[in-house]
């Protein structure tokens, strides 16, 4: 295109050396992937030859990796390339032989980006490819130029040469000579380990220095015992169970191994994924739903797309569908286990309790399992929510463990079904119980509601205690707390501190600025403010209400306030600590004087 052309369009100038460097050194996370790319090209060449010239011989020969003398030679008896193809495909970055005329990746090939060979520049400065096309052999046109073998040499600085070569049979030989200080990547032990790592499941005979490294049957096609054995090697411990997985839309087969140890739900689970039986990666994320943290999978997918670096999966619609199907399979396993083998389900929950709770926050089926299987701390002992629902239609919870400890016995005595919501996910699950039981009344325990459930004292007691209450009100005013006289069980508890709580939908603690002036949580808190409830059923309190000595009442009320705060594990402000000290010393002084 010249500057006179009316469109004014220009092509980008490409620094070939820079592109080669970029793709070979920065696309991949480690030089080790060069083995995978060589293996992939050889497998695709074999597949292409099987497709096009089936029965022409040679296609069944093994793919051979030969090491020695600082070189690696990879030989396949695949489709090979003609000289024009060598120019077109090996020397054009981004042009893959594995795409059709429309540029769509061929379904049965592993590679598709036309950049794989560049990864060899990670370990070598020069790549030599000796290739002879099987197509021209099959065409029986021996005299044609296309029938000759071709030698292509590519260099890391971006130039290449092509010249006639020698090869007896159709196929391709790739020769790498190690770059200085990279010799270890081409050593026999390294190559063997890497070929086994990436290609052990390939349905081809792959050999390294004559030794076969591919396995006959992938784990997901083996019997259950062998599958569990594979899982044991994968996890380093015997799996709790192995779940067979299949998603026909994605051409996916595999197995999920249920971890026999607890895993962190917030940590993203990574799985071993093969694409057409070539290892994509050991730590592939996002193939399973986030909640499926309790399994590790080994999967082989035919239809899922890899990213260009072939180290993760491309996050497209098919991956989303696959993720959903795999999630369904795991959920079905869990539901089935709960229904058919409760003892084993309990064993599973003993390990993955937290994970299932996390899942139940979003999933009704899991919520059902939690409701049915997991015991919660309640005012009536450890019960499942299902059992508690069978006894009560109204359930209350506390948001703090300490609050539960303080109120549990009182709630039990008042017939209130109280649940300790102080643990992770408990409140969320309690609030979602209406999904299972729409008529259920589940709420946070409101202090004022509890106060109304405590028996009021009779008018005679109320009258006799009026001086006591007046003194208590004066003493507690500094703590922003109101005294209340009630009669409740257990009688051993002399006082109870009830915290005020803002109510109504949308009311929350962080209302600030101008909103607070209108929403008036302070006003509400004042109305339902903190109360110190004296238990008239307690003998000490009963005697105290008829004590005439104002000083003793003041000190006792102060001491009981401190006691209530301490038993409820509530933080003591400096004023509270000073009050407790004052009360303690004052009561000691009184006792000494009286004694």
């Amino acid at each position: 295109m010249t500057s006179q052309e009316p469109t004014g369009a220009r092509n980008f100038n490409v620094d070939l050396r820079g592109i080669v460097d970029l793709l070979s050194r920065h696309l991949y996370s480690s030089p080790r992937v060069y083995v995978r790319e060589l293996l992939q090209n050889a497998v695709d060449a074999m597949t292409a030859r099987g497709d096009t010239v089936e029965g022409t011989g040679g296609a069944g020969a093994p793919i051979r990796f030969e090491t020695g003398g600082g070189e690696l030679r990879v030989l396949d008896s695949g489709i090979g390339l003609t000289e024009p193809q060598v120019h077109e495909l090996l020397a054009t970055i981004g042009n893959s032989s594995k795409r059709d005329e429309l540029g769509l990746a061929r379904h049965d090939f592993l590679g598709q980006f036309g950049i794989g060979l560049l990864s060899c520049f990670l370990v070598a400065d020069e790549i030599e490819v000796v290739t002879r096309s099987a197509l021209t052999d099959a065409g029986a046109d021996e005299g044609a130029d296309d029938a000759r073998a071709v030698v292509w040499r590519g260099h890391a600085d971006g130039h290449y040469t092509v010249e006639p070569g020698e090869r007896d049979e159709p196929g391709t030989t790739v020769v790498l000579r190690a770059r200085r200080d990279f010799e270890h990547w081409l050593e026999a032990s390294t190559v063997r380990e890497l070929v086994r790592h990436y290609g052990a499941m390939l349905p081809y005979d792959v050999r390294v220095d004559g030794d076969r490294v591919t396995e006959a049957t992938p784990p997901w096609e083996r019997d259950r015992e062998e599958l569990l054995g594979y899982g044991t090697r994968l996890l380093g411990a015997t799996p709790f169970d192995a779940i067979e997985l299949s998603v026909p839309e994605a051409g996916l087969r595999g197995a999920a191994f249920v971890l026999p140890f607890e895993s962190n739900p917030s940590q993203r689970a990574a799985h071993r994924v093969y694409l057409k039986r070539m290892l994509l990666g050991d730590r592939v994320e996002s193939v399973l739903p986030e909640w499926a943290f309790f399994v590790r999978c080994v999967l082989d997918a035919g239809e899922l797309r890899p990213t260009a670096s072939r180290e993760q999966l491309y996050d497209d619609e098919l991956l989303a569908v696959t993720r959903e199907r795999l999630g369904d399979a795991l959920r079905t396993w869990l539901v089935g286990l709960a229904a058919t083998d409760p003892a084993r389900m309990r064993a599973f929950l003993a390990v993955h309790y937290r994970g299932v709770m996390a899942l139940a926050v979003h999933d009704v089926e899991m919520l059902r399992i939690v409701d049915d299987q997991i015991p919660f701390e309640t005012s009536e002992g450890r019960l499942t929510l299902g059992e508690l629902r069978a006894r009560h239609r109204a359930i209350r919870y506390t948001s703090r463990d300490e609050e539960f400890r303080q109120l549990s016995a009182i709630a039990a005595a008042q017939g209130i079904a109280l649940v300790n919501g102080g643990y992770t996910y408990h409140i969320e699950i309690l609030n979602r119980l209406r999904r299972l039981d729409p008529g259920l009344d589940v709420r946070k325990l409101d202090a004022s509601e509890l106060a109304t459930r405590l028996d009021p004292v009779g008018p005679g007691v109320e009258f006799a205690a009026r001086d006591f209450l007046e003194t208590a009100k004066r003493t507690l005013a500094g703590h922003g707390c109101e005294p209340l006289l009630r009669s409740f069980s257990p009688a051993g508890l002399p006082v109870l501190y009830l915290e005020g709580a803002p109510g109504g939908h949308g009311a929350d603690a962080d209302v600030d600025g101008v909103w607070a002036e209108f929403i008036g949580t302070e006003e509400k808190a004042e109305r339902d403010g903190p109360r110190l409830v004296f238990n008239h059923r307690n003998p000490i309190v009963a005697r105290l209400t008829s004590t005439a000595n104002v000083r003793v009442v003041e000190l006792s009320v102060e001491a009981m306030y401190g006691y209530a705060m301490l038993t409820g594990n509530r933080p003591l402000r400096p004023d509270d600590v000073a009050g407790v000290n004052r009360a303690f010393l004052g009561l000691v002084e009184h006792a000494v004087r009286e004694g």
């Binding site: 729409p438 109504g504 949308g506 009311a507």
Partner: protein, 255 residues
Amino acid sequence: MAPAGREELRDRLNAALDLAGGGEDDDVAGQSYLAVMEGLLADAEAFGDPETLFGVKVIYANALRFKEWEKEPREVDAEALAVLRSCLLTWNAEPYRFDATDVDNMWTELHRVVDRYVRHAPEPAEQVLRLLDELERRCPPDRPHARYALGELRVRLEARRGNAAEAERLWRLQLARGPAREHLRPDMVAALDASMWARLGRHDLAVAALAPVLAGRLPVTSGDPHEVRLLMPYLHTGRAAEAAVAHRRTWRGPG
């Protein structure tokens, strides 16, 4: 009884809105509407879907106008404002997540609550002004109708303070913006403006405020004739004949 799903909750919400009718404050229907919305809100909270919960909360705030108060109406207004505040913060955090109608409804409800603070509740004007500032801060410029509605409240708040000059300046600014059909009934705004100017003694502006309605440029949505508000302004501006015509047209004898 099966647990509620998203579709079912939406259906129930629409049914509840039918129960609310045209916004008439009929006690029995209003109480049923409120009771239905309370149940619906509990189910939506249990369902946990943020979009559905947002829509239900906004309508619940609307239903709260039928809630009986213990000491004073501001208790209910405060609860409605708290609900709407939580909606507003959620919407601010993820503006494209929620249904456009639900968001429109939220601004309408916010206007309704603040309108009560402007007209009825004895909240200090400075405090209401700060609330309006906060709402404007949270209302992006791409919602001109919501901004208009807030501006309309400012005009009447200034009028309540007796600040006629500032009210007039803001009112003329509002006229230039045009009415907010999404949130307010334009004829009702004009009628409220006319009453406001009449109370402030600016009878010429009262007549001007209702002129578009009387000229038929704004559709009348209320059953009551707005013209009745102009009897005194007509007389004060020496338009006795028009006052007499308006009186004849709007006055209805018993039976």
